[in-house]
Amino acid sequence: MRSCTPRSLLAASLLGAALVAALPGPAVARTEILWWHALQATLGERVGEIASKFNASQAEYEVKAIFKGSYPETLNAAIAAYRAKQAPHIVQVYEVGTQTMLSSGAILPVFQLMKDHNVAIDWNDLIGPVKTYYSSGGNLYSMAFNSSTPILYYNKDLFKKAGLPDKPPVTWDEVEAMAKKLVAGGAKCGYSSAWPSWVIMETMHAYHDQPFADHANGFDGLATTLKINGPFGVKMLELLQRGAKEGWFTYNGRLNKAEANMGGGECGIFTTSSAYIGNLTKTAEGKFAWGTAPLPHMAGFPRGNSIIGGATLWVMKGAKPEEAKGVAQFFKYLASTENQAWWATVTGYLPLTQAAVKAMEASGVYTKNPHLKTAVAQMNAAKTTPNSQGLRLGNYGSIRDAIEEQMENVFAGKKTAKQGLDDTVAKSGDILKEFAALYK
């Protein structure tokens, strides 16, 4: 290590020469904008398409879309990069990380960015829950990107086999009645759901205008307690606990694992993200007919709106002025009706603006693929209330874990619904307090 032989010097200089040769020439004048995202496969290709379309549309900026792994992996990569002062300009963060990003002190709010660079976007044209979820004090903090909401799917072939008319259930009572008939008719699973906490707890509370956490679900200040052990939450879980016991509800795991059961043609009634449409179209092709419908309603409770999931784009602090300007221009392109309509059509995510919905209607996309309309119709049919504008919880990921852990205990019959929810509230209280202690 100490000695410097002529040979090692030669090797070093050769290596240096090779490195210099590998650098791009001085011709590059475009400002580079790094966009880290978490979408893979087909969706990842679509993200790449957005970047290349934007790059082709102007000559000043070059957006580079880089896949960084799953949502948590992408967030972790961004955190590590930020700490090393190497942050990308734009990072895609899932809804679970919203409070983390808001509290981070590491971001530049989108509304601020747009104001700084005099880029006008009509935020009021955004679909209600999409806007509220990511706004604070009426100002948008992160750029809405891929949003979806839970909807109901049903297997028409299994409905026919069970002697049911081709009509999806509208209430949970009907879900129960139909699921029982489906099972009696030979279906392996009457009703099942993917994303247990997001669909059955988070969305269902919002959909019935029930509070999920204190401080208006964390929108008026840091949430400190969950409120899901009220009459609605208990009734919801009691229903499904009974369903699990009687055999008309099948629990098929966390995340989107249960989608395999729906895609395999086992389930009569199913709830999951509207972004599942594309996938189900492919898997069910030539095997079974299916339909979509708005989520079922629980009799005796008011109506709110369904909430969204998915991810948004956050702008990291520390960009040079010309880079920030490029990000603002890029977001303007993202919000354009042309891009929104195209994106929603090819991915199954929600179009984020009403203008894009109109454009899609005009172009006949919805007549060709009526399923794409279900989620939009469901959201536009209702009014967004304080309980359904979204959820903003610190350490949201751990809270989902705590909820799903207890849901599993309840469905397995280990605890009563009330006990399970009380335990969830106690556990998540500790988690929320820990977060609050950090930002007090």
Binding site: R2, N252, S398
Partner: protein
Amino acid sequence: MKRTVFRNRWLPYALVAPQIVITLVFFYWPALDSVRLSLYRASPFGDRLIFVGWGNFARLFADAAYLRSALTSVVFAFLVTLIGLVLALVLAALANARIRGLAVYRSLLLWPYGIAPAIAGILWLFIFHPSYGVLPYVLSFATTYQFNWFLKGWVAMTLLVVAAVWKQFGYNLAFYLAGLQAIEASVLEAASVDGAGPVRRFLAITFPLLSPVTFFLFTLNMTFAFFETFGLVHSVTQGGPGDATSLLVYKAWKDGFENLQLGVSAAQSVVLMAVVIGLTALQFRYAEKKVTY
């Protein structure tokens, strides 16, 4: 051992330097940083760092979920080690017999070791899967009990144990086979002449002579079960149902990387570090003296 003498007094240091540097940068530095971080309540982006002393550890040991996770890990590690070693020993004894095509059998038995834990988990997931798995299908003819590991903790645990045992099997077998072949045939022959049957010979001679190997494999399998099963849990059960398969190493990762509670996660890593240091110390103190390679 032969003592090598270097003429240049710096050369030996230069030769070991890369290894030392790698160890310092990739092992000691992160380890020390974990210890430091375990004493803080830290925000994900690093803008808040509040010293809490032993607070994270105190929280950890007062947390019922963590204690359950510790118990789950111990149960898991013992099941994997005991079942794994017994199976490997029995099959090694069989594979040590003089039979036709022995080399083929031996190679086939060694195969699973070449598979990553995550992949092993996925393979067994297909066999156990409640809707398309072979095992629940076969069992459905015998019983109406639902072997759904999405809901039943013990089924999920069984799945993980089976996958882990299977994955380590080749390794254990290789060591036992080597151990068996090192036993002098004359000793066993002498026992035969004295009238000892195959079982007696195994219990009185083979097994005791294999004890150094057994001890070595015991610590090794324990270490594997405690620290290298992250991929398995991550790809198959994600700690569920409930927290039935939330092993310590998985929980530490989850709290740190998914839930972004860095201080608590660092405290968990420190606890795990203490366990692995303990196991390694045990290994060196007892095994090194008895095992002759």
